[in-house]
């Protein structure tokens, strides 16, 4: 039972991280119908940027609450800027082009970011310092919970609730939903589609940046090609929940995290990734639109 509870906590932690990253995929897909393959690498990039900000500016000094917030904000702003740049350079010129051209462009952008990381920080593994967040742990009747885990769970929950209200209750959120349904109609209603897409990339990249920094703090080792792994997992989460649906990405992320943790706890870590992809394919065969995805009629 203790193993189960422990894996539940671990799974929910990883799941929240997947959900944060998955939101970036799902929002871009919802509005632009494009798989943003570069998003995972952007997340990896954010971990490296966060690490550099930390070691360059806060290295020796004791890390305070304010400093941590500054690191997170700075990273999120930088990554949001990169995300917008990515959209401008690689996706905007291809909005009317054939679907696959945009996919190739996204893959190209992913390669650029991934290998840019390798050229800047080197091909070797980088280690995240352990003293960014306090290393307090709680032992609740045999189940160990770290301060980092609590931070991840609480902050991602807060962010997701905030995003939910942003999308559903604000004027910009309404415009985003309208653009997702029909870009041309949204344009006719006076919505600036370019600005909406920019907002999507800013929000998605910021959430991804927070996810990436937490991935760095939680796992502590960074490799330049880690973006593929987390990106693909987050992407699977988005598909499980129903790509294009924001609550779907959150549920998908949590479910995938739990699935991963339980497989690792009870079956084997060696085959965990394989089973994740088997799950993906089964879901695609049985219900391609995911849990919360709606069936869309093919446009003729």
């Amino acid at each position: 039972m203790d193993i189960f509870l422990q894996q539940l906590i671990n799974g929910l932690t990883i799941g929240s991280l997947y959900a944060l990253v998955a939101l970036g995929y799902t929002m871009v897909y919802g509005v632009m119908k494009l798989i943003n393959f570069a998003h995972g690498d952007l997340v990896a990039f954010s971990a490296y940027v966060g690490l550099t900000i930390f070691t360059q500016f806060f290295g020796a000094s004791a890390v305070s609450f304010v400093n941590v917030i500054i690191i997170f904000l700075l990273t999120a702003i930088i990554i949001a800027f990169v995300g917008v740049l990515l959209e401008r350079l690689a996706y905007r010129p291809l909005r009317t082009a054939p679907r696959l051209s945009a996919v190739v462009s996204a893959l190209g952008a992913a390669l650029v970011i991934q290998n840019g990381i390798m050229l800047i920080w080197g091909p070797n593994m980088q280690i995240f310092p352990s003293d960014i967040l306090p290393s307090t742990t709680w032992n609740i009747s045999g189940v160990i919970m770290t301060f980092t885990q609590v931070c991840i769970l609480v902050l991602s929950a807060v962010l997701m609730i905030a995003l939910y209200f942003f999308i559903n209750k604000t004027k910009i959120g309404t415009a985003i939903r309208a653009t997702a349904i029909d870009q041309d109609a949204a344009k006719l209603m006076g919505i600036n589609v370019n600005r909406i897409i920019m907002i999507i990339f800013v929000v998605g990249s910021m959430l991804g940046a927070i996810g990436g920094l937490f991935i760095g703090i939680y796992y502590r080792s960074l490799t330049f090609d880690m973006g593929w792994v987390y990106g693909l997992n987050a992407f699977i989460a988005a598909i499980i929940g129903g790509i294009g649906s924001i609550p779907g990405a959150m549920i998908g992320g949590l479910l995938l995290g739990l699935f991963n943790a339980l497989i690792a706890g009870y079956i084997s870590t060696q085959w965990a990734e394989t089973l994740t992809f088997v799950l993906l394919i089964i879901i695609l065969i049985v219900r391609p639109t995911g849990i919360l995805g709606e069936k869309t009629a093919e446009k003729v």
């Binding site: 798989i35 952008a109 088997v278």
Partner: protein, 324 residues
Amino acid sequence: MNKTTLIATIFILVMAVFPFTVDSAWLSIGITFLVFATVAFSQDIILGRAGVFNMGHAIFFGIGAYTTAILNVHFGLEIIATIPFAIIFPVIVAVVLAGPIIHLRGDYLLVATIGFNIIFEQVLSNDLFGLTGGPNGIFGIDVVRIFGYELFSDKAIYYMAFGLLLITLLIIRNLDNSRYGRALYYINKDEIAAKSMGINIPYYKLFAFALGAAIAGVAGSIFAIQYSAVSPESFSFMQSVMFFAIVLVGGSASLPGVIIGTFVMFVLPELFTEFKESRYLIFGAAMVLTMVLRPNGVWPATFGNIPKYLKEKALKVKPKGETK
């Protein structure tokens, strides 16, 4: 003789005499080029002609290579005898894997094939049934023997790869002129219209998958012969991305496009080893730039994949009341 035929003839002649004009380093680059061009053409049948979003093509290439390696090393079969299996196994796998997912919409199909490729990679490096040799792969593949005569030189392997490329080009040419090729063309152009015309879409898409897999399988076999070893990283998801990109960057359903794509992705890095570090960065940037400037690829097919003379022939035939 029109321009296309002329270019094709010159290309084939140059490739035929190439081994006699270069040293061994260039010869092995030549083999690499031929093998990867063949795989790219087979991907073009699936992606460019049938329009099926397949991002797991390295699976079929890998199954071909591993079939040859396993049958030769573990079961002592002659290389030549393994080649039929290197055709059949990829075809079986293609039909079994693609069958349940072939009805998926483009993006979902793309993701499913990525999933298959990653599962394939994991199966290889987790040493399934003790046959695949784990992360290091399989070493010590035998040389090719025909009637006891050993074909071990690079020149012999070059001509094997060259022969395969010619056969592939012939198959593609025949495909374009056939009922199957036209069905694929219409499915690619407008799936719903094709469906309402009575074209059995899953059947033709699976056919394209099977044909592409068969050709990629043989190419994999030659790849295994060239290096006399196979390992999982040659058939990774990244490799599939490369094949996917070659077809779309070069220009789908276009023979010169695929050749250019292969040259840029696999031959240029061999020539400029000094930028090996930043090679993928440059490729990534080139992929984005090409797509932005030429969304249909560098050298797109100008007339779908139905050659002009065939259309003219069809027009001439029709008035006589003959239907094909």
